[in-house]
Amino acid sequence: MTMPIYLDYASTTPVDPVVADKMMECLTTSGKFGNPASRSHVFGWEAESAVEEARADVASIMGADPREIVWTSGATEANNLAIKGCAHFNVRRGKHIVTSRIEHKAVLDTCRQLEREGFELTYLDPDASGLIQPEMVSEAIRQDTTVVSIMHVNNELGTRNDIASIGKVCRDRKIFFHVDAAQSAGKTPIDVEEMNVDMMSFSAHKLYGPKGIGALYVRRKPRVRIEAQIHGGGHERGMRSGTLATHQIVGMGEAFRLGREMLGSETDRITRLRHRLWTGVADMEEVYLNGSAQQSVPGIINISFAFVEGESLIMALRDLAVSSGSACTSASLEPSYVLRALGLNDEMAHSSIRFSIGRYTTEEQIDDTIKKVRRAVGKLRELSPLWDMFKDGIDLNQVEWSAH
């Protein structure tokens, strides 16, 4: 079986071989297998020093102090820890939290849980290009707001919010600002000082590191205090207990070190590939770019092919590993909540594809993708009664459909 072309880097990435090699040095008797918390022998010291080196590498991608990094099992846990931990710690100050409708489920479901506990949430609607504007945050803040959580880069659209400006709004009003940066680390510059960020979530596996490891940045000056969600041996300054997974942490550190080094060259190369892909399909009729053409990371491009249904498009594109804006592939028939929040109608949301380009994507793969997409869209439109109607000049919004 020949494997499909992988264009789902926003979902996960393969581990860089350099990273894998470094991880393997932390597993067996000949490596740094010790418990980093063991203070009484060299096995522990070696592991601890590997963990601290990784901590410094992760910290440097965002201009933080290594002591501001807390290891977690991934960005989901980091989001939970930041939002619940900060909201709970500051509950006497207020019980209002501001976030957006297009956050990742790890943020949205965490917020839902807080609502069940009696917190009040404001979910901001993005503008038509998928961005949360600083004014929207400013207007949503109340006297009792304690936490604002806005993502840096949206995972479905690739849109990049102006975190620095939103951060300034929060800092001026003395509100804790959390940012989910799972999709942005190594894809766009991050500076927690310039951006006025108080907490930031990261994941290793979106940046050629291993799955199962992530980190939360927690500001020291001015100090941000959070309640632990996992209790135990008091690791990570009491914020997250549990034996540190040396190999995972070392993998994340190396992945972030590489990510920081390669940011410039990767951005240039991936920007060219994105442009190539978009120009290769944009001359077809009724093809739309979702999100913002200007304010985006290059690696994610979300396109709607009108009059073609998403799942059949995915099926026709079996040789491509991409994601659909239609959740038909799961048990539900709901189109993507992110695309809906942009104001796309269900059809356009159903007919969207997210292509995400990464470190190992080649020009040949992009050219091949363009060919396959054009062929699939052409074939499915030939099969589509909606395409017929569109060609006959019928306004589909005026048709009375029988809902089912």
Binding site: F307, V308, E309, G310, E311, S312, M315, S326, C328, T329, A331, L333, P335, N345, D346, E347, H350, E382, L383, S384, P385, L386, W387, D388, L396, W401, S402, A403, H404
Partner: protein, 127 residues
């Protein structure tokens, strides 16, 4: 989503794709579903004076199962009298294509489509 070989076959090589002359009184059209729900099926049948389906065509906007359900249906109804064609049950389609539970609605839509097409041609012929 793991599809059965039959679904993939119909999806890859859909039978009887096309459009019949809707203005003819021997042609019945069934258009069911809604774009917002992710599937729209247009099934057309052409009958002779005895009500036997001489030709059937479809176009479907929808997932692979929806396309396969309508493609299969066009094969089944050809040569059948409209009275028999409208008796086709969605469960038969679902079974033939081995549709997973989340895709049963595709077969329901196909059943609705043939019923609607038969109703349309009956209306045109006044029977």
């Amino acid at each position: 989503m793991a599809y059965s070989d039959k679904v993939i076959d119909h999806y890859e090589n859909p039978r009887n794709v096309g459009k019949l002359d809707d203005t003819s009184k021997f042609v019945g059209t069934g258009m069911v579903g809604a774009p917002a729900c992710g599937d729209v099926m247009r099934l057309q049948i052409q009958v002779d004076s005895d009500g036997v389906i001489e030709d059937a065509k479809f176009k479907t906007y929808g997932c692979g199962s929806a396309i396969a359900s309508s493609s299969l249906l066009t094969e089944w109804v050809k040569g059948k009298n409209i009275n028999d064609a409208e008796q086709i049950k969605n469960t038969e389609i679902a079974q033939e294509l081995a549709l997973p539970p989340v895709k049963i609605h595709c077969s329901v839509l196909a059943e609705d489509a043939i019923k609607a097409a038969v109703r349309d041609v009956r209306g045109k012929q006044g029977i």
